[in-house]
Symmetry: C2
Subunit: 152 residues, 2 copies
């Protein structure tokens, strides 16, 4: 039977997974951040079959994560991250940070270009700047929250 789709899920997590819940797509985005732009670059750096790459690129373009930009002097084009696509950097880094925290070695360090110092690990911060643990937070429906805020 057909695989269940989460496109119209009310949960933003499930909806996002429709976009990036696929391994190849994530890896393609990673390579896009690494500088890959051409079809052949993705193909070589990922070792993925052409047909699969074609489908994935199309999907990412359709989702507004990549966009095709024409190349002057060539009939072909390149794939560039859109604003939306660049927003995935945070997600990718969160995943990387999690993976490194768990047993593995740490082959990469994220550094500030300006002073070459490592960037702080991602963490939650309260409105006043306090760092928050997962247990200190709660996910509430937006509607309920705005009602509570109004009452205040």
């Amino acid at each position: 039977m057909k695989r269940k789709s989460f496109e119209n899920a009310e949960c933003p997590l499930a909806r996002s997974l429709e976009a990036i819940g696929d391994t190849w797509s994530v890896l393609i985005v990673r390579q896009a951040f690494a500088g890959d732009r051409r079809f052949g670059e993705f193909e070589k750096s990922l070792g993925v079959a052409k047909n699969i790459l074609t489908v994935r690129l199309r999907k990412l373009v359709a989702l507004g994560i990549l966009e095709q930009v024409p190349v002057e002097g060539s009939a072909h084009h390149e794939y560039a991250l859109t604003e939306k696509g660049r927003g995935l950097n945070l997600v990718l880094m969160a995943i990387r940070q999690w993976g490194e925290g768990c047993g593995g070695d740490t082959p990469y360090v994220l550094v500030d270009k300006r002073d070459r110092k490592p960037v702080k690990p991602l963490a939650f911060h309260a409105h006043d700047g306090r760092e928050l643990a997962a247990e200190d937070m709660e996910l509430v429906p937006a509607e309920e929250f705005s009602r509570a805020a109004r009452r205040k």
Copy 2:
């Protein structure tokens, strides 16, 4: 042919995807954060087939993301997030945050339990606290970084 495996990839991102690059696994973890603990709870809240749920739960346990805890007075057990599993909260929230930033409505708000105020959006911060954009950062091999640090 067999699907390519990224278990031994040198990239922590690819390795992590082996663990959480699957839609059902992520959704199961989400439900675990939401409070689901029993097999039947996951089954009902996700509407997933039993056999698939069985496989996914086993995988998550094998990966050290969930653990089985015995239930007193019952022959059965519950599934609880491990420390490693709880670390995924940041990843899930990063994905949710990204999904919300892109066109969709924002059905949920993450609030501080203490003062009920919304938690700050996730962002990168330099060592001195400055907020950083993706373009201001660079991912460098750990070895290279420690060499540079030593030279300083």
